[in-house]
């Protein structure tokens, strides 16, 4: 091998190394993006494969081998290599000519010293190699530092919402049963319907009909709770009234009032006895009540001291029951007011403006709107999000005119000693405005149609 051929080969090997760095750099950049993407996918979608995905990093070695294999051999690009070297040594094309037609006479005109040839060899500065890899490698490293999504160890049960709704109903039923609010027959009936609902919820997701059934069952139990609370409150009120005559006053009125209160107390106690709630009373009180309740008539002791003591014991018991029912009510609503969503304290809403604390709607009628589940309360202050602020808002905040919130049935017309004409069931709220066959999911609405809507409804049905 002639001297210049040896240097051509050395130059070619440097060129080959440069080609390898270029090839490998390009492939490695693509590989880093693929690797980073795979790590991200695994961390986000398949966290269980996280340690294994790192094995992909070992693919760098075959990648390097493939890049070296695919790099043009020194012989493949020899013509270009010689041309570069020719220019490098300022041979004016002589090296290219000698590479194709060897001629000893002209070979001697080429540089003779090793140093001169050595200086022509290109230095390897893998700047481009690293520059092309900066971004892909950062991406791959960054992907490795992305937090691993926690793998779910337990399987997801189907129809979770239906199951939870059934469980909540069952829990409420248990609480009511423990509080001796439900009669046995009624309890059995509710139990069967809840079990049937739970069974159906396991198989199919909740439909709007089943949601209505859940809601109806819940309202039915809450209605029983309300009825019991009203009976206890009625008894408490009567006992409080019966304890007052000790202060003196109008005797005739006291007798009439006493009789009315005695009747109220009697009916309330009968209501409580029917559901077995009196079983929670102390043995002494039970004995006293048995003595007083003979032949279905409540007879209070004639002696003032005994009478006062019996009423005090009864009031204490009723207070406890009232407290218990309030707590139960609060628990059934997750400790939140059903009217305004404010926390409950002893069953009472802490919000002084809560509609549930208002009487007759005189005050509430002065507030604008009544809001809705999707729009928020009409009288709530406007909130400004990221999209705009108060100064740049297109629509300015205005106070709405008073809305029609009042429900005449909720108004208190007055207080009489006689039994209210309205049935508590009818005044318990809109939930009782319909009858529900929970087992079948069907229901009947009995809501009254307002006069201004009647013509519309009539035309609709006439067109059928």
């Amino acid at each position: 091998m002639s001297d210049h051929n040896r240097w051509i080969n050395r130059y070619g090997r440097r060129i080959q190394m440069g080609e390898f760095l270029r090839q490998f750099g390009n492939w490695l950049a693509v590989y880093c993006f693929v690797f980073g993407g795979a790590v991200l996918v695994v961390k986000i979608l398949f966290p269980g494969l996280w340690p294994q995905v790192l094995l992909l990093g070992a693919a760098v070695i075959p990648l390097a081998i493939a890049a070296w294999w695919m790099t043009p051999r020194s012989g493949q690009g020899r013509e270009a290599t010689v041309a570069w070297l020719d220019r490098r040594i300022h041979a004016g094309g002589l090296l290219m000519a000698l590479n194709e037609i060897p001629d000893p006479a002209w070979s001697s005109r080429l540089p003779g010293s090793e140093q001169a040839w050595n200086e022509t060899l290109p230095r390897i500065r893998p700047v481009r190699f690293f520059q092309s890899l900066v971004l892909p490698v950062l991406f791959a490293i960054g992907a490795c530092f992305v937090p691993l999504r926690e793998a779910r160890t337990e399987s997801i049960l189907e129809n979770t919402v239906g199951r939870q709704a059934s469980e909540q109903l069952q829990e409420l039923l248990t609480q009511l049963d423990e509080a001796s609010i439900l009669e046995e027959e009624e309890k059995q009936e509710l139990q069967e319907e809840i079990e049937k609902l739970a069974e159906e919820s396991k198989k199919t997701p909740l439909t709007h009909e089943k949601w209505e059934t859940v809601d109806a069952l819940r309202q039915k139990m809450l209605y029983r709770l309300d009825t019991k609370s009203m009976a206890v409150d009625k008894a408490r009120s009567a006992v409080a009234g019966l304890m007052k005559p000790a202060d003196g006053g109008d005797q005739i009125l006291n007798e009439q009032r006493s009789g009315q209160l005695t009747d109220d107390l009697q009916s309330a106690l009968q209501e409580l006895a029917k559901s077995g709630e009196l079983a929670n009373a102390s043995p002494d009180l039970r004995d006293a009540l048995e003595k007083m309740m003979q032949n279905g008539q409540l007879t209070l002791p004639q002696e003032s001291a005994a009478r006062q003591k019996a009423l005090e014991n009864l009031q204490q018991f009723l207070d406890q029951e009232s407290q218990k029912l309030s707590e139960l009510r609060s628990e059934s609503q997750n400790g939140l007011c059903q009217h305004c969503g404010s926390p409950l304290h002893n069953g009472e809403c802490v919000n002084s403006n809560c509609p549930g604390n208002q009487h007759g709607g005189q005050q509430s009628s002065e507030r604008p709107g009544k809001g809705g589940v999707t729009r928020g309360r009409g009288d709530a202050p406007m909130s400004w999000g990221d999209e705009s602020d108060e100064t740049t808002a297109k629509f300015k905040e205005v106070v709405l005119p008073p809305g029609a919130f009042d429900q005449p049935k909720d108004e208190v017309y007055g207080t009489t000693k006689s039994t209210p004409e309205a049935d508590p069931a009818a005044t318990a709220g809109r939930n009782t405005a319909r009858t529900v066959d929970a087992a079948s999911g069907s229901e009947t609405w009995t809501r009254k149609i307002r006069p201004r809507h009647r013509n519309v409804v009539r035309r609709y049905f006439d067109s059928e």
Binding site: I15, L21, R22, A80, A83, G93, M96, N99, I101
Partner: protein, 361 residues
């Protein structure tokens, strides 16, 4: 054409044979030195006649050695005609001068058959025109009509003329050295592209420096050049032609020439943006042939047995300049062919392969 050194040269260096050319050998250093010395001798003679135009003279000699025709363009009084006359004197070739005018006819150039009576019979006898010479100076060629200009087409390409169906070979060597004036264009006929393509070189004769002017007026009485003696013979010229053709063209350089010419076409993928925008038609294959031939001559002039990239770059302006047909937009934006060729040489790499970026030369 008598030359005292002719026998000496022939005895010292054997003329290249066809067998040598087929073997693809490099010229021997002695042969290259011989050619270089002879060319230097010719250049020295030309430089003594034409002052301050050494680059132009080298390009003229390169064109001559590649057996090419030359078109000189320049203002009057720059020595174009004198250059051609000096060349003929130094080469000892038969020289004819043709002053092209609008009423010049093709027969005035190539000759015409004349009815003569010979041996009692009348017959048409062809009387050769002034083109039957070794060195033809076509002065102000663009003043003749296209019909007359086209009379040179066959002569320049095939070294022969055909009159009335009879073909007459021109003496060898045959060169056409034409001149044209870039101003006073009224009443001129621009050379057609086919005619231009037959000129190997088109060179612009530039103004000389003040030092040269001073030297001219100081040494030349009435501007007359010194008497020149013949330094080459026809045989020596043929010998130099052979040497120039034997200069080796490496495949990488040939590839560079091919890519250069190909890139002059605006529809080529490799052409730079300026060519796509301003060039209407690119160079023909004849340009590539001319590039290789003149590059060989340039290499021999440089004393090399092979062509290098620099030799191609050197002759590219003369070879490609008149072969690129520019678009009207180029004139509007002030682009010249020289500027286009600058862009071409800058954008086309000598090696058709990208040097690895991670290597530092």
């Amino acid at each position: 054409m008598n030359n005292p050194n002719e026998s000496e040269i022939q005895s010292s260096v054997a003329a290249p044979t066809e067998a040598d050319e087929g073997a693809g050998r490099l010229l021997a250093p002695e042969e290259v030195e011989e050619g270089h010395d002879a060319i230097s001798q010719l250049l020295a003679g030309l430089n003594s006649a034409i002052l301050g135009q050494s680059d132009l003279l080298e390009m003229v000699v390169i064109c001559l050695l590649s057996r090419g025709h030359l078109l000189l363009e320049g203002l009057p009084g720059l020595g174009k005609t004198e250059l051609v006359k000096s060349l003929s004197s130094l080469l000892g070739l038969e020289f004819r001068r043709l002053q092209f005018t609008p009423d010049l006819l093709p027969s005035d150039i190539v000759g015409a058959p004349i009815l003569e009576e010979q041996h009692g019979a009348r017959r048409l006898v062809f009387h050769p025109g002034p083109i039957f010479a070794n060195l033809v100076l076509a002065d102000e060629i663009n003043r003749a009509t296209p019909k007359t200009q086209s009379a040179l087409l066959e002569a320049m390409q095939e070294h022969r003329v055909t009159v009335l169906g009879e073909t007459h070979a021109l003496p060898g060597p045959f060169f056409v050295l034409a001149t044209q004036n870039p101003i006073e264009l009224e009443g001129t006929y621009p050379l057609p592209e086919a005619q231009l393509d037959r000129f190997t070189f088109k060179l612009n004769v530039e103004h000389v420096s003040s030092d040269t002017l001073e030297q001219i007026i100081r040494t030349r009485k009435n501007g007359e050049p010194p008497m020149l003696e013949q330094i080459w013979t026809a045989a020596r010229l043929e010998r130099l032609f052979g040497l120039a053709e034997q200069v080796y063209l490496p495949s990488a350089v040939a590839n560079y020439i091919a890519r250069l010419v190909n890139a002059t076409h605006p529809e080529s993928e490799a052409s730079p943006e300026q060519i796509r925008q301003f060039v209407k038609f690119g160079a023909s294959p004849r340009a590539a042939i001319a590039l290789s031939g003149t590059s060989r001559a340039a290499a021999l002039l440089a004393g090399k047995p092979n062509v290098g990239f620099d030799d191609v770059r050197r002759v590219a302006y003369g070879v490609l300049g008149h072969r690129l047909i520019l678009d009207y937009s180029a004139r509007l934006e002030g682009w010249t062919t020289a500027r286009i060729i600058d862009c071409l040489l800058e954008s086309i790499p000598e090696v058709d392969r990208e040097f690895p970026g991670d290597l530092q030369q």
